[in-house]
């Protein structure tokens, strides 16, 4: 009677027989893109960690105590609060899947062009992951660039090493990826996306000249003919998916695809208007007021306000399918107060529904051409080339009907103008926190407090970065906690 103890897993391919074919390589890359659809990457928490934590937004009305405290830079129940924990875990999942691609695909016997593209996609996605970890948690993150073993406990890295790795990944990806628009790439990363993220990385490092050199060929059309779409508001609707302005966007699923791991964008449900959504995140009044400091050439309010924020414009102001007055009758607690402000961007308010679904199929814009223009303007201005910078800003202003700025502005005035343009252009797109850091605005804490009372509890030297999650620290003694936490 034989009873063979030599058995193999009949349920799934195992590592021994995977990474053998071009199909395996593509599947591995697809599984890496899949991690972009997680709460901690692009599905939900971006809006909270980059926007409501900055001076344009707040969570201080959220009934969720930990989330309420989050925009006040406090963690009453510990450092494993969902935003910080999910962002950490999900981003490292992205990075580790990218590492598997980068480590395994080169050994596959397959078409060379496809191989080179797949590896480059891995590098682009890894660079994207580290860019977020670096700008949210700071340099104490461990830098993992090869698939780890179970006994590894990777140590904290340092700023220069991580930034260098991000630059390298984006540089190599840009060289190998196809020069396509998002509409041609099927949602995959392109050379323009990698080149643009390289520029963004260099800018964030305040390497102005290098950033400028990286961004210039994009504007020169060497990576494809990117352009600003005429109607700003459509960028953040479903019909704006994969338009000509996009260098990279995350392809969102919907409620029907959720069972296949392809859920949609949660930002409008979580941080949008009360009623249709939960309004856990809201704009600050200061941010709202910034839209009125300038007006269009036809003396209208900057149209980006109406694409970004719900605010009371009279009883008939539409909020989803109902008027403000109707909401005030149905939900006086929220709409009885006409000074209330709610985020509108990425919401499906135009569909005729009074409810916002959790899973909006609206692609999250990671990098768009307006950002490329404004980044290049900033890089040039910081190098003293203000006159060359201003026309780039004016391209972005012209789209929304604002009068051009004079090329004679001083460098300081231009710096302020570019920052303000970014403020109005990129609300809820995960940019403001980067701007504050890059332009050293955290050092002027009094100004930030005048924008947003949340900054009353901002501790300089500590609150710029999130605490490393406690679970990571419990399990990995080689990771240092950030200063002050």
């Amino acid at each position: 009677c034989r009873n063979d103890v030599d058995i193999t897993d009949p349920n799934a391919p195992s590592s021994g027989n995977f990474w053998q074919t071009a199909a395996d390589a593509q599947a591995g890359v697809t599984a890496t893109y899949n991690t972009l659809l997680r709460l901690g990457t692009f599905q939900r928490w971006q809006a909270f960690s980059y926007d409501t934590r900055s001076d344009i937004g707040t969570t201080n009305t959220s009934p969720w105590p930990e989330l309420n405290s989050f925009s006040k830079f406090q963690f009453p129940s510990g450092y494993d609060f969902d935003v910080s924990r999910d962002t950490w875990n999900d981003t490292y999942t992205l990075i580790n899947r990218a590492n598997l691609v980068i480590a395994n695909v080169p050994n596959i016997n397959m078409d060379a062009a496809q191989k080179s593209k797949n590896v480059a996609e891995g590098k682009f996605l890894r660079g994207l992951g580290y860019f977020h970890l670096m700008t949210l948690y700071g340099a104490n993150i461990p830098l993992i660039t090869t698939p780890p073993t179970a006994t590894d406990r990777p140590a904290s890295s340092d700023s220069a090493t991580v930034w260098a790795q991000i630059e390298k990944d984006f540089t190599e990806a840009a060289a190998a990826l196809p020069k396509q628009l998002m509409s041609q790439s099927g949602g995959a990363a392109t050379a323009g996306a990698a080149q643009g993220m390289l520029g963004k990385t260099l800018l964030q490092e305040r390497k102005w000249a290098q950033a400028s050199a990286a961004l210039a060929p994009i504007i020169a059309g060497q990576f494809g003919s990117y352009s600003l779409v005429p109607d700003y508001a459509t960028l953040f609707r479903r019909e704006g998916n994969n338009g000509p302005e996009s260098l990279f966007e995350v392809q969102m699923g919907n409620v029907d695809l959720c069972g296949q791991g392809l859920c949609g964008l949660n930002i409008a449900k979580m941080a949008g208007a009360c009623g249709p959504g939960y309004c856990d995140g809201r704009p600050t009044r200061w941010y709202f007021q910034q839209f009125f400091l300038d007006s269009t050439t036809t003396k209208q309010v900057d149209p980006r306000l109406d694409a970004t924020i719900f605010y009371y414009k009279g009883p008939s102001t539409p909020v989803y399918a109902k008027s403000w007055a109707q909401w005030a009758r149905d939900d006086p607690g929220n709409y009885g107060d006409t000074t209330r402000l709610y985020f509108k961007k990425y919401g499906e308010y135009y569909t005729g529904s009074n409810d916002q679904t959790w899973e909006a199929q609206i692609n999250f814009k990671v990098l768009r051409y307006a950002d490329v223009l404004l980044m290049q303007a900033e890089a040039l201005n910081e190098q003293g080339q203000t006159a060359q910078a201003i026309p780039l800003v004016n391209q972005v202003r012209a789209r929304v009907g604002l009068a051009p700025l004079a090329t004679s502005l001083s460098q300081a005035a231009a710096r302020a103008a570019i920052l303000k343009e970014r403020l109005l252009e990129f609300g809820l797109e995960g940019q403001r926190w980067l701007d504050l850091g890059r332009q050293n605005l955290f050092t002027d804490i009094a100004t930030l407090r005048s924008h947003d009372t949340d900054f009353n509890t901002f501790v300089p030297g500590q609150s710029q970065v999130l605490p490393i999650p406690q679970r990571e620290r419990n399990l990995n003694p080689n990771v240092k906690q950030n200063p002050g936490w």
């Binding site: 972009l36 510990g78 392809q251 990995n476």
Partner: protein, 1017 residues
């Protein structure tokens, strides 16, 4: 009831010779000859030992009248008057009734039957007579407190198996022992056996005893033997009881007005405006405990028929157990049928044991609405200002609101609208054939089957049960059908015999055993049920439906040998070897050798014994020592594989709105392809002592278990991004302790009293850990209040140490490390004196495991009345109390314990810090504020029975029955403890690395009162 046997006196020196002879056969009550029974004419030196066929012969007896006493260890001795004349041969056949004492029972030590007397390893035995008076639903409940070295934590949830740990926790995985039922390996899950069917339970604790189970024995082995028929006319037994159950304790909580007053002050202290539910009037005052807890009921009916001839026997039994839980809408029902039979003809014996059962359990639904439902936390933390039902809410249930922002799940709603049901159809069967080859050598073929077909259904209605969690678009149904099949195949050669004039006794077994197990699982999920009355998969929508299935095989091949040898009943020797090969390990690491040996010396058999000072007066004294190595493969199937997960997809949104899905796959699990067996070295020394005609017996042991190459499911940091924690061989754990069992029998005419005391001490320490000695953090969410680290017990608490409450601003200044604290705040010890309090200030509290556990039993009879009283206790541990954490802080809005007495400037004489809403410091979970003493003494069982006298029966014209017994049984009558949670005993479930954490997931043990009737006829 327990009985103790006096051993026959050693043959005297000079006896007068006569010419008469007394001869006969000594048999047990099941008809089998009793080898080694001692027959003596008391008060004389005449006596003999029964041979292999049970026959004895005492010759050279002078004529006269004597008291003949027949005794054998494991049986109640019998005396009778005999008169014999000169030259006469008198035949006296004696039947002895099996009894059990701590020293003398026959134990099924696995592959061999061994006399307790010959055992030199550590084995605890519980027999049916020990547990028959105690009416319990499961095997483990029957074992509670009975055996030294065995810790049992039971839960009050109907149908939930208890957690058993034998001699401390040897590893970091499931600490449950291996269960073997009538020779069938049923794994680490409690087999759902009807306690009325059990003849004996042997707990093999040390290496010597357990080694015959080699690779699966490292946590000890529980060998269950079911009852079999006996030679004689058919007999029937009816056992039935009915009882009520109740959760014995309520947590005293605040009413609505009291709760509002505290939180008004707490919000004011934080400078915040309270929500309307706190500031407004309190028209609602919900008592959630009243709504969730109910009076449960338990009833059991069991009918057994048994009988046989000298060549065949049978036992049939059927039973129904029906239990209604102490939490609403939880219940358990079990139907079981058993057929055990044997037949012998000539050299051949065949037999079988077959149990078929169905059980149905309804449990608390877990994982509802994005989080595990915590019934015992929700029930204390939900606000009294939230109604149970609220017609204004979608679905009609009450839950938190903007006015009452509390995120608990309404437990009444969950239990009413949703259900979590498991149906199990199980067959456990063994069959054997045995042939006497020559002399005492036998060949035996064993076949075993354990087949379990489960159906698990989780139905979730569409109603909303939690604040801000939306109503589902429809109800949902998750259904899974796991099917387990385990097959056993064994070929064994057995030898049992005596030689050399009975001086040498040898019991040996050698053979082969293999297991072929498979687990097949099918699962499906649908939502969108338009008609919630139709709760079947096909009634749901096909949008978003999912299904899945997998199959995991597990096989072992082993060869084993074991021999027990005794010389002159004095010198005992046992050795076991076993080689196991398991499919659970990678190809190079599959096979392992395990073995053990033990020696024993029955000193009291030595000629010099009587002359030993003090001890010489003892009737029986045996010294024992054993050592050996056992294995562990408790890692689940296919664990060393690093599978590639499929269906990790991505979508492409076309400009037109069309979507294209591409399929992805990658490795999502970090695995260890070099897994090896865990090896546990176990050493035991002990002695057995019988005093005063063996009325008092004492068994004592000291043991040391060292588990090496520990199989650890190592939690990985998030940066490694593994979806599952892989097993690694890491580290070493040492367990050591004393075990003491003391039994005393008092017999005064109509009155007898047996007293049994068990005490166990346990000391558990991690000696080394792999991976550079890095500690393993676990317990209570991600906070990690427990930590397994070198030099500390497994799952030691790892917390900040408090140092009272700051009374004045000067106290704060003097303390330095908490500059932002205010009077009334908790002080934390700045362990590293760095001037701040942070995670680096956590320290170990090494008391998650009781140092001493024990049981004290009194069983007495007086005429027709029997009374049993059973105490259990546990000492020396602390418990991390999640109920206290939920009800004694103001971090968020939750109800508070009645008498919650926070510090204020006018109320400084309190140990509770000030109440500030949103307070993270005083509410820090990682603080010793939440530790409480786990000491308790419990009146576990009180049973009072009355056996109806024969004359009463005859006056009622009832004949043909033994005396029926009626009884009342009170379980868990009272617990003496300072622990403020529901039950200090619910530890040990869930995470084996956080056994000191009472996380509020486990039902407390109920208080039960039952009335019962036992009839035999």
């Amino acid at each position: 009831a327990l009985a103790t046997t006096a051993l026959a006196p050693a043959a005297g020196a000079q006896q007068p010779r006569g010419t008469a002879r007394v001869t006969g056969t000594v048999r047990g009550d099941n008809g089998q000859p009793l080898v080694g029974a001692q027959v003596a004419l008391t008060g004389t030196g005449y006596g003999a030992v029964a041979g292999d066929d049970g026959r004895y012969s005492i010759s050279g007896v002078p004529a006269g009248t004597y008291t003949l006493r027949a005794a054998r260890i494991g049986y109640t001795p019998v005396t009778q008057q005999v008169t014999v004349g000169d030259g006469q041969t008198l035949t006296v056949d004696v039947t002895l009734t099996a009894s059990a004492t701590t020293l003398t029972a026959v134990s099924v030590v696995g592959y061999t039957n061994e006399q307790r007397r010959d055992i030199s390893g550590a084995v605890s035995t519980v027999t049916s007579s020990d547990i028959q008076d105690q009416k319990v639903a499961t095997v483990e409940e029957a074992l509670r407190g009975r055996a030294p070295g065995v810790q049992i934590a039971a839960s009050g949830q109907p149908g939930r198996p208890a957690s058993i740990v034998v001699r401390g926790q040897n590893g970091f995985g499931n600490p449950s022992p291996l269960y073997v039922v009538d020779g069938m390996y049923v794994g680490q899950q409690n087999p759902n056996i009807n306690p009325d069917d059990i003849a004996s339970i042997n707990i093999l604790k040390d290496a010597s005893a357990a080694a015959q189970y080699g690779a699966q024995a490292s946590n000890g082995v529980i060998v269950i033997t079911t009852k079999r028929g006996a030679n004689g006319p058919s007999r029937f037994a009816l056992n039935t009881y009915y009882g009520f159950q109740q959760i014995p304790k309520r947590i005293p909580l605040m009413n609505a007005a009291e709760f509002q007053n505290v939180f008004k002050a707490a919000y004011a202290a934080a400078g915040q405006t309270p929500p309307a539910g706190v500031s407004g009037g309190a028209s609602i005052n919900t008592d959630w405990q009243d709504a969730l807890f109910q009076r449960g009921a338990i009833q059991n009916y069991n009918l057994t028929a048994s009988g046989g001839t000298t060549s065949a026997s049978y036992l049939l039994s059927g039973s129904v157990l029906d239990q209604k839980g102490t939490v609403i809408n939880t219940d358990f029902r079990r139907y079981s049928v058993r057929v055990n039979s044997d037949a012998t003809r000539g050299r051949i014996t065949v037999g079988e044991a077959l149990a078929i059962s169905q059980s149905n359990q309804r449990a608390y639904p877990n994982g509802i609405f994005g989080g595990q439902a915590l019934p015992l936390i929700d029930v204390v933390s939900l606000l009294p200002t939230i109604p149970i039902r609220d017609p204004n809410n979608p679905g009609g249930w009450g839950y938190g609101s903007d006015a009452n922002p509390n995120y608990g799940v309404n437990p009444v709603a969950v239990l009413t609208n949703n259900s979590n049901r498991t149906r199990s159809n199980q067959v456990i069967g063994t069959a054997f054939g045995e042939v006497k080859i020559v002399g005492n050598l036998r060949y035996r073929l064993n076949l075993g089957l354990d087949y379990n077909d489960l159906l698990h259904r989780v139905w979730t209605s569409s109603a909303q049960v939690r604040y801000l969690t939306p109503v589902l678009t429809g109800a949902s149904l998750f259904q899974e059908q796991p099917n387990t099949q385990q097959l056993l195949y064994e070929n064994l050669l057995n030898y049992d015999g005596t030689f050399g004039g009975g001086n040498h006794r040898l019991s040996a077994v050698a053979g082969q055993t293999s297991q072929n197990n498979s687990y097949q699982q099918l699962s499906a999920f649908r939502q969108g049920f338009s008609n919630e009355q139709l709760q079947q998969l096909n009634a749901g929508s096909t949008t978003g439906f999912t299904n899945g299935g997998f199959y995991t095989p597990f096989r072992t091949n082993s060869v084993l040998g074991r021999a027990t040898y005794s010389f002159k009943d004095r010198y005992l020797l046992t050795g076991s070897v076993r080689r196991d090969c398991s499919s659970r390990f990678s190809p190079g690491n599959r096979c392992g050798q395990f073995g053990a040996g033990s020696i024993g010396w029955v000193v009291s058999e030595e000629g010099f014994w009587k002359g030993v000072p003090m001890l010489g007066s003892a009737d029986f004294f045996k010294l024992r020592a054993s050592t050996g190595v056992l294995g562990d493969q408790n890692i689940g199937d296919l664990a060393y594989f690093s599978p590639v997960s499929q269906n990790i997809n991505y979508v492409s949104n076309g400009p037109s709105g069309a979507t294209v899905i591409s399929g992805g796959a990658t490795q999502t699990v970090l695995a260890n392809t070099d897994l090896k067996w865990q090896r546990n070295r176990s050493t035991d020394v002990g002695f057995d002592l019988g005093l005063f005609d063996n009325r008092l017996s004492l068994t004592a042991d000291y043991y040391v278990n060292i588990a090496d190459q520990l199989l650890v499911q190592l939690p990985l940091p998030g940066s490694l991004a593994s979806d599952r924690n892989p097993f690694v061989n890491a580290g070493k754990v040492r367990n050591a302790g004393f075990e003491l069992g003391l039994t005393h029998r008092l017999d005064r005419g109509d009155f007898d009293l047996n007293t049994t005391l068990n005490l166990t001490t346990t000391a558990n320490r991690v000696v080394s850990l792999g991976n550079g000695g890095q500690p393993i953090s676990s317990g209570f969410g991600d906070v990690g209040v427990a930590r397994t680290a070198v030099g500390h017990p497994i799952g030691a608490f790892y917390l900040k140490e408090t140092c009272g409450i700051f009374q004045t601003a000067a106290d704060v200044t003097a303390h330095k490390a908490q500059p932002r604290a205010q009077p009334g705040d908790l002080c934390f010890v700045d362990q590293n004196a760095d001037g701040t309090i942070n995670d680096q200030d956590r320290v170990f509290f090494d008391n998650p495991i009781p140092k001493v556990t024990g049981g004290l039993f009194f069983d007495s009879h007086w005429k027709s009345i029997d009374l049993g009283l059973n105490f259990r206790g546990s000492f020396g541990n602390k418990i991390f109390n999640a109920i206290k954490f939920a009800t004694e802080r103001t971090t968020g809005l939750s109800n508070l314990r009645a008498g919650y007495n926070p510090w204020t400037t006018s109320n400084t004489n309190t140990s509770t810090p000030r109440a500030v809403f949103g307070d993270a410091v005083n509410g820090d979970p990682a603080s010793d504020r939440w530790l409480e003493s786990g000491n308790f003494v419990r009146i576990q069982n009180v049973v009072l029975g009355y056996s109806i006298p024969q004359r009463l029966l005859s006056s009622m014209r009832i004949s043909g029955t033994e005396r029926p017994r009626v009884y009342v049984n009170l379980q868990n009558l009272y617990t003496f403890t300072k622990y403020s949670g529901y039950d200090p005993e619910v530890l040990g479930f869930g995470d084996p690395l956080a056994r000191g954490v009472d996380d509020g997931l486990i039902y407390p043990n109920p208080r039960t009162i039952t009335l019962g009737l036992d009839v035999r006829f």
